[in-house]
Amino acid sequence: MAADTSDDSAASGFGQISRSKDVAFRLLALAATLIGIVSLAALLLNVAIDAVGWLDWGFLTNPPHPNPNEAGFLPALVGSIAIMLLIALITFPVGVGAAVYLEEYANDGYLTRFIQLNIANLAGVPSVVYGLLGLGLFVGLLNIGYGSVLAAAFTIALLILPIVIISAQEAIRAVPDSQRQASYGMGATKWQTIRNVVLPRAMPGIMTGTILALGRAIGETAPLIMIAAPTTVFGIPNSLLSKVSAMPLQIYNWASYPQTEFQYGVVAAGVVTLLVVLLTINSIAIIIRNRYQQRT
C-alpha cells in the first residue's frame, strides 16, 4: 500500500513508516477498546473476591443489621423485585401502545416528529430529575406516600418508558411490510393486522427491549432517594403503599458505613447479588432474542 512515487527507495521507506504507523494505530485502537472492558472485569473480580464469605444464605434471608455479621439483604431484594414487577405492568402496555401508534397509525407530520424528538430527549433526562418529578407529582400532588412501592414504581416507570417505546418501535419497524400487505389483502382491518400479524412478529423484540429496560430500572437509585424511599427497611413490603427500600439504595447506605467489614464485605455481597439479578434478567432477554433469531 506504499505511495506511488518514481523514486523506489523513498517509496519503500515511506511505505515502511506509514505501515508501522498503521500497525501502531491499530494496536492503540484495540487497546482503547479493551480499556473499559478490562478495568470493569478487574473491578468485578475484586468485588467477587471480597464478597466471598459474606454472601451466604443468611445474607439473603436476613433483614439489615448494624452488626456486619448479621446484616442481610432480604427486604431490599424483595423490594426491588416488587418495584420491578409493577414497573413492567405499567410500562409494557403503555410503551407498546405508544410504539404501535407512532409506527402504524401516525402520519409523518409535525406532531409525530415532535413526539419522537420529545421521546428521544426524555431518554436523556437525568434520573435524579425524574426523582423530583416523582416527589412533586406522585408524593406531593397525588399523595401516595413518601417512599411507597407505588410512588417508586410510577417514578421509575416514567424514567424507562422512553427506552421501552424506542425499542418497541424498532421491533415493530423490523416486521416486513409484505406481511402487512398480505393481511390487508385478506380483507383484514388495520387493527386486525396489528393484532394478528405485526404484534406477534414484533413481540420477541419488544420483550427483549422491555426486559433490558427493566434491568436498567432495577439499578436506579437517585429517583428513589428523591422520593424519600428509606435507605434501610427491616420488613418486606406488604402493600402498595408501604415503604420500600431497594437493592441499590441499601448498597448506597452501606457504602457510607466506615467499618471495613461493611466496605469490603457486606457491600460487596450486596453488589454481587444485585449484579447476579441483573445478569439473570439480561440473560432472559438474550435467550428470547436468540430463539427469535433462530426462527427467522
Binding site: A29, I37, W191, I194, A222, I251
Partner: protein, 307 residues
C-alpha cells in the same frame, strides 16, 4: 356517518378507531411527562425564587443550604459538575472515539460480535455500583501515588468516564458505518493506508455523528448522580483554574450530588433548602435538555446527508 353504524363492519371500524385513540394517548403521555417535569420543577423553583433572587442564585459563589449562614449560590455546584464533566470527557472521548474507529474500520465481523455487547455491559452496570468501585477500589489505588482525599473528583471522573464510553463509541460507530464505502475505496485507490483512511476520510465524514455522540455523553456525565454522590464528596467549591490538580484531588460537589444530599437529609416541608432542590433540578434539566436537543438535531442532520 350520522346514524350509529351497528353492522359488523361498523363495529370493526369503531373498534379500530377506539384502539387508534388509545394508542395515541399512550404516545401523548410522553409529552405529558415532559410537561409534568417542567411544571413540578417550575412550581417549587418559582417559590424558591421568591425567597432567593434568581440573580443571587445564579451568581452566588457560596452554597450552604442548611448550615448558617445559609446561602444559595449555584456556581460552586456548577463548578463541580464542570470538573466531573471535563474529567470524564478526558477519559471517555478519546477512548470512545478510538473504540469506534476500531470497531468500524479494523475489527473483523466476529470480533465485533463479541466486543460490542461487552462494551454495552459498561453502560448497563448500575451507577451505584460504579460509585462503590470508585470509592473502595479506585481511590485506594490512586492514593498510593497521588495525594488524594478520601472523596475526590478524580476517581469519580474516571468512573463516569468509563460508564459513558459506550455512548460515545456506539453512536460514533453508527456514524462511521454510515460513511459510504466509495469514499474509502477512493482513498485506498490513491494509495492511502488504513490509518489515513480512518483519520482523514472516515472520521471527518462522520464528524457530525461523532459530535452528537460527544454532546450526548457529556450530557449524561452532567446528570450522573450516584457515582459522584458516593465518590466525589460533598464539598461545594468554586473552580480554581490556577490549581487544576487540586481540583481533581480534593472533594467537590456537583449539582446532582447536592440534590442527593438535600434529598437524604431531614429537610421536609416548605423551607428554602427543600425548594432549592427544585431550583437546582431545573438548572440541571435545562442544561441537559438543551444538550440532548442539540445532539439530536446534529444527528438527524447527518442522517439526512447519507441516506
Amino acid at each position: 356517518m350520522s346514524a350509529p353504524d351497528f353492522s359488523h363492519d361498523g363495529i370493526r371500524t369503531a373498534r379500530g378507531t377506539a384502539f387508534r385513540y388509545l394508542f395515541m394517548i399512550c404516545a401523548l403521555l410522553s409529552i405529558l411527562t415532559t410537561v409534568a417535569i417542567l411544571l413540578t420543577l417550575l412550581v417549587d423553583a418559582v417559590d424558591f425564587f421568591r425567597i432567593v433572587s434568581p440573580v443571587e442564585f445564579l451568581t452566588g459563589t457560596q452554597w450552604s443550604p442548611t448550615n448558617e449562614p445559609v446561602s444559595f449560590g449555584v456556581l460552586p455546584l456548577i463548578s463541580g459538575t464542570l470538573i466531573i464533566t471535563i474529567g470524564s470527557a478526558m477519559v471517555a472521548l478519546p477512548i470512545g472515539l478510538l473504540t469506534a474507529i476500531y470497531l468500524s474500520e479494523y475489527a473483523s465481523e466476529r470480533r465485533r460480535a463479541y466486543l460490542k455487547p461487552a462494551l454495552e455491559v459498561l453502560a448497563g452496570v448500575p451507577t451505584v455500583v460504579y460509585g462503590y468501585f470508585a470509592l473502595v477500589y479506585v481511590t485506594p489505588v490512586l492514593d498510593t501515588f497521588l495525594p488524594l482525599s478520601t472523596f475526590n473528583a478524580l476517581s469519580a471522573s474516571i468512573m463516569v468516564g468509563i460508564m459513558i464510553i459506550p455512548m460515545v463509541s456506539s453512536i460514533s460507530e453508527d456514524a462511521m458505518s454510515a460513511v459510504p464505502d466509495s469514499l474509502r475505496q477512493a482513498s485506498y485507490g490513491l494509495g492511502a493506508t488504513k490509518f489515513t483512511v480512518s483519520t482523514s476520510v472516515v472520521v471527518p465524514a462522520a464528524l457530525s455523528g461523532i459530535f452528537s455522540s460527544f454532546i450526548l455523553a457529556l450530557s449524561r456525565a452532567i446528570g450522573e448522580t450516584m457515582i459522584v454522590a458516593i465518590a466525589a464528596g460533598q464539598t461545594p467549591r468554586m473552580v480554581d483554574l490556577t490549581d487544576p490538580a487540586g481540583m481533581f484531588l480534593n472533594s467537590i460537589q456537583p449539582m446532582t450530588s447536592a440534590m442527593v444530599q438535600i434529598g437524604t437529609g431531614d429537610i421536609v416541608g416548605q423551607g428554602a433548602a427543600y425548594k432549592s432542590l427544585f431550583a437546582v433540578g431545573l438548572t440541571l434539566f435545562v442544561i441537559t435538555f438543551a444538550m440532548n436537543l442539540v445532539s439530536e438535531l446534529i444527528a438527524s442532520r447527518y442522517r439526512e446527508v447519507y441516506r
